[in-house]
Amino acid sequence: MSNVGIVIVSHSPLVAQGAADMVRQMVGDEVPLAWCGGDPGGGLGTSVEAIMQAIERAWSEAGVAILVDLGGAESNSEMAIEMLGGDKAGRIAICNAPVVEGAVMAATEASGGASLAEVQATAQELSPA
């Protein structure tokens, strides 16, 4: 699929899955979509390994936009991008946006074939500068 993929990263697997469900219902299946939530021990938190796997599941040649909730989700996503490295790392963008609204808006933009930069910008319009 050539549409930008969307990855949702939350401290809570329930929040991540719920946000993904909303994207699927509102935007449909035109966009590669993956989510992850919870720390490596199964508690609330995020896991670099799980984020890397989610990026792979949602991978698109057009790139992947990541929506994150709180601090650790962002730094763990940055770490995951670094560890994936290579050519892929340059085609992954973390969006500074609220996770639910950002995911829906990013996916809507992506479903129309927008570029990664456009998808990221659309999601970030939701955050005050």
Partner: protein
């Protein structure tokens, strides 16, 4: 030069210290964070301890990079990438300039600051790590370095959190010791004790 036996001892010492203080770290984190710092750090360093023998058998830079990767993958929470970056950078720096420990340490602390988009004085682990880097540069003794680390942990109590979860609390973060500063001092203490 750090021998295989020393490295093994060092890894065991860090892991034992974190385990012994896991509850304390969690209590500190419950006051101004999300109360998982002790459990997260323990999970990470338990994973390192489980492979201590194999890790100690590697050349030091490789061992440090492997420890960093292990922490990144197992700690979870914001401290995983921060402590992971610290060890990964130490390994990277010592691979290019072996034996230059003080310079490697400072570069590792800079990398943590970049990863956390933070600086000294914002009630984080950097409040301990930068003064320790300064003390190393100044050639201070182990006892002096430990005193610096512990004084700086205490100093975080009166600071207001600017970065991280504790910053959501604003002024209410004042009056509590920062758990990341405390865990950093504990690691410094474990390393100083083992070397």
């Amino acid at each position: 030069m750090i021998s295989e036996a020393q490295l093994r001892e060092l890894l065991d010492a860090i892991s034992a210290t974190i385990t012994a203080h896991a509850e304390e770290l969690t209590t500190l984190d419950s006051a101004i964070g999300d109360g998982d710092h002790g459990a997260n750090m323990k999970r990470g360093f338990d994973a390192v301890a489980a492979e201590a023998a194999a890790l100690a058998g590697k050349p030091l830079p490789e061992a440090l990079k492997a420890i960093g990767t292990k922490l990144v993958m197992t700690v979870g929470g914001a401290s995983g990438p921060l402590y992971g970056t610290m060890f990964l950078t130490l390994g990277k720096e010592l691979a290019t300039a072996p034996e230059d420990y003080t310079s490697a340490f400072r570069k590792a602390v800079d990398a943590v600051a970049a990863r956390g988009k933070s600086a000294f004085g914002q009630k984080t682990m950097l409040d301990v790590l930068y003064p320790v880097a300064d003390a190393l540069d100044a050639g201070k003794s182990k006892a002096e370095i430990l005193a610096v680390a512990n004084d700086e942990v205490a100093a975080t109590k009166d600071r207001k959190a600017i970065r991280g979860r504790a910053s959501f609390l604003g002024d209410r973060s004042i009056g509590h010791i920062d758990p990341g500063a405390r865990s950093s001092a504990l690691i410094v203490e474990a390393i100083a004790g083992a070397l």
